[in-house]
């Protein structure tokens, strides 16, 4: 069988096995990854995600949202595995397959799927294709490669703008490989700049939501989303193993290392295979491969440094100073994202390591050793199978959601709909009580006012919307008996009048999480229940429109 076709089949099958549990009807709701039946809204031209969201919106014309979501999940595993297997400079199939498997199936990818950072993973899965274009650049006389690379990088940035910081330095270093082809590099960087002018201009003229968001980030954000150390093996080893994501401390999902007790050994084997790959490269005498290996060592170390960030005791002050001097770095407030670069190194160099072993062994010994090595990714992260260890399954939105949406859509007035409970992340009963971002604004439309509070130990909120602050104030008066200034309030607030002052006509109470704490709504005579079932309760505010605004 043709080698490329074989790889195509292997990684198609792998991806199908991983997503097979999700092929039935329903939506996958995984913390930040949320899909709703409503069609994707066309993005603003000035948005960083303009290209990607437009692409999804076009797809959404032909395909339902849940299918797009499942295709995306399939693409992450398929593109990561197949792309890396094609990229790695080895001859034997097992070495290629190993590289693809390590890149596609590892604790980093697993964790990010379960916290819903699928955009980040899609960009990660496209990196091998971008690197392949760069590697071939010095000998390419055609400019098509440069154009494709620029479009691909723009798409990756559009999928997740963090890639400017994550892949940008990697591509600057990779430009060294194509330094003799100045025309190619000029076209690539020039076109990339041109294609990204839409959001760069908005930053330059100071009207960028991105710049505003980054400027809001402070040291508290860095502390809240810093990488986590393993209790026994520390921070650096935890990061080297693909762990350390902030969400691991919140026990949101099962960690692969909680199941595989000997995971440190596997990390050491992966590091060893990477070292073997370096030895093979430097023995090969191929200058280009040597430079590539050198670049990967540098980028992996850089990734480890950045991922450690403020959590590294010896460099905490240095990183704080860096974040202070170069505010753009604040965009990486959750630095474990860059560990993907480290796994790129493991896969690329580890593939070389497997090839090294393959070349030096023969017969049954070779089959056994290499066969065992090929099992490593599956043993290291078994939790990607069986529907992510039973933690992800398609769910259907309750019928009552659609009924309430109809009621709200019928009212064409200019008003807001308040969504309670007042949390940014909630556990919905229909989603098997797994935490997920607040669904209300996505499902019920932009008129919904829902919480954007992080509610973490160090960081409560960045929300500066006046209506949201008003609601937070009312809730504080209700629950603690004090206002935002800290003054004691007696009696408790009159909700209907308070909400009317913020132009809130409807209150949507999801019967999830701590919804029973919102019984005070029933005590207000002017909040009338117009829909009530097992999932939702909709109140109409009769005080709305009666107060002078």
């Amino acid at each position: 069988m043709n080698k490329n076709l074989l790889l195509l089949v292997i990684f198609t099958l792998l991806s199908l096995v991983i997503v097979s549990r999700f092929l039935g009807p329903g939506y996958l709701l995984s913390l930040d990854a949320v899909a709703v039946p409503v069609r994707t809204v066309w993005p603003s031209l000035w948005s960083t995600s303009f290209f990607y969201t437009s692409l999804v919106a076009v797809l959404n014309i032909f395909l339902p949202s849940d299918w797009i979501q499942k295709l995306l999940l399939f693409a992450i595993f398929f593109l990561a595995g197949w792309g890396m297997a094609r990229l790695v400079p080895v001859v034997s199939n097992p070495a290629k397959v190993f590289a693809g498997l390590v890149y596609a199936v590892n604790p980093f990818v697993y964790g990010r799927v379960l916290v819903g950072h699928w955009g980040l993973l899609l960009g990660y899965s496209l990196l091998p294709f971008l690197v392949k274009l760069f590697i071939g650049a010095d000998q390419s006389k055609k400019i098509a490669g440069a154009i494709i690379a620029a479009v691909l990088f723009t798409l990756i940035i559009s999928i997740d703008v963090h890639f400017v910081l994550i892949f940008g330095p990697v591509l600057v270093l990779l430009s060294g490989l194509a330094i003799r082809n100045v025309r190619w590099l000029g076209i690539f960087w020039g076109l990339t700049l041109l294609l990204n002018l839409n959001w760069l201009i908005s930053i330059l003229i100071g009207r960028s939501e991105l710049a505003e968001a980054v400027n809001n980030f402070s040291e508290v954000d860095l502390r809240t989303f810093q990488s986590l150390a393993d209790q026994n093996y520390g921070l650096i080893f935890n990061l080297l193993s693909g762990y350390g994501l902030w969400a691991e401390g919140r026990k949101i999902f099962v960690l692969a290392k909680d199941i595989v007790s000997f995971w440190p050994l596997i990390t050491i084997v992966l590091l060893g295979l990477g070292c073997l790959g370096i030895v093979r490269t430097f023995k090969s005498g191929d200058k280009k491969l040597k430079i590539m290996a050198g670049l990967l060592i540098l980028t992996s170390l850089l990734a480890l440094d950045l991922a450690g960030g403020v959590a590294l005791p010896s460099a905490r002050e240095m990183f704080l100073s860096l974040y202070d001097q170069f505010p753009v770095f604040r965009g990486l407030r959750e630095p474990q994202k860059v560990i993907g670069i480290l796994f790129f190194g493991y896969a690329y160099l580890g593939g070389g390591g497997v090839e090294y072993i393959w070349e030096r062994l023969s017969g049954i010994k070779r089959q056994v050793v290499v066969g065992t090595i090929l099992l490593i990714p599956f043993v290291y992260t078994p939790t990607v199978f069986s529907g992510f260890w039973g933690q992800l399954s398609p769910v259907e939105y309750p019928q009552s959601y659609f009924q309430v949406k109809k009621i709200l859509d019928r009212d064409k007035g200019n008003f807001l709909v308040l969504a309670f409970p007042w949390h940014q992340y909630m556990r919905y009963t229909f989603n098997h009580n797994r935490p997920v971002t607040n669904l209300a604004p996505l499902f019920f439309g932009s008129r919904v006012l829902s919480s954007q509070n992080y509610e973490t130990k160090y960081l409560d909120s960045h929300d500066s919307r006046p209506e949201a602050l008003h609601i937070s104030g009312l809730l504080r008066m209700e629950t603690e008996g004090i206002n935002l200034l800290g003054d004691k309030i007696d009696p408790k607030p009159e909700w209907s009048a308070g909400l009317a002052a913020a132009n809130i006509k409807y209150v949507l109470l999801f019967k999830d999480d701590d919804w029973k704490d919102y019984g005070f709504l029933d005590e207000d005579g002017k909040l009338r229940i117009i829909h009530n079932d097992n999932y939702l309760r909709l109140y109409q505010n009769d005080s709305w429109g009666t107060l002078p605004l």
Binding site: I236, G294, D305, S314, E317, M318
Partner: protein
């Protein structure tokens, strides 16, 4: 010669007097010297790079020196002047650097690796590992006297850091001086053991 040195010195003093900035004074006088003495633009680029490294280090470690205005400005001025000289004279930088290329790459690689290892293992271990990498990359510096020289440099650094009230750096510098002295002693021991085992000496003791 004197007619050329004099304006350089005068410019140095003038800038120092007007701006109270030793960095700008060095930059200005170096640029003038490179014009008068026909230095290669490489020297301006190198100094610009060193000033920039100094600037980054001063920002990262929050170090401030009297009589130093802004190293980044001096670095920029030197760089731009270097570019101007380079194009005016039509210098072949690559030729000037050709014979040093390998060493510069190796040295740059070692510095970069040390900088990247530093956040992971701390300053002391990073410098020791960096030094280890350096003597592997440059065998001609493998002699123990280089370890002692490095130790003395750190020892000299102690009072300087104390004067500039960088107490933490002074302690760090003292620790490193001690570590490099130990490395030097170990190198002496290793060399003497190696010499004792040398078959040449055993075969021809007389």
């Amino acid at each position: 010669m004197t007619t050329k040195i004099l304006p350089v010195l005068l410019l140095f003093l003038l800038i120092l007097y007007v701006f109270s900035a030793a960095d700008l004074a060095v930059a200005g006088s170096l640029i003038l010297a490179s014009v008068l003495f026909q230095f290669s633009a490489v020297w301006l680029f190198t100094t610009a790079f060193l000033f920039f490294v100094g600037y980054i280090a001063s920002q990262v470690f929050n170090i401030h020196f009297d009589f130093v205005a802004d190293l980044s400005i001096a670095s920029y001025v030197l760089f731009v002047s270097g570019l101007a000289l380079f194009f005016i004279r039509g210098e072949k930088i690559t030729q000037s650097l050709a014979h040093l290329k390998g060493d510069i790459l190796k040295f740059g690689g070692m510095v970069l690796l040390t900088l990247l290892i530093y956040p992971l293992v701390g300053l002391t271990l990073a410098l020791v590992l960096g030094y280890g990498g350096f003597i592997i990359a440059f065998p001609r510096y493998r002699s123990n006297r280089w370890s002692f020289i490095v130790a003395i440099l750190f020892l000299i650094g102690c009072p300087i850091f104390l004067i500039t009230k960088q107490d933490v750096m002074a302690v760090q510098s003292a620790t490193l001086a001690y570590i490099f002295l130990i490395i030097g002693v170990f190198q002496v021991l290793a060399n003497s053991v190696g010499q004792k085992k040398s078959p040449k000496e055993l075969v021809h003791p007389l």
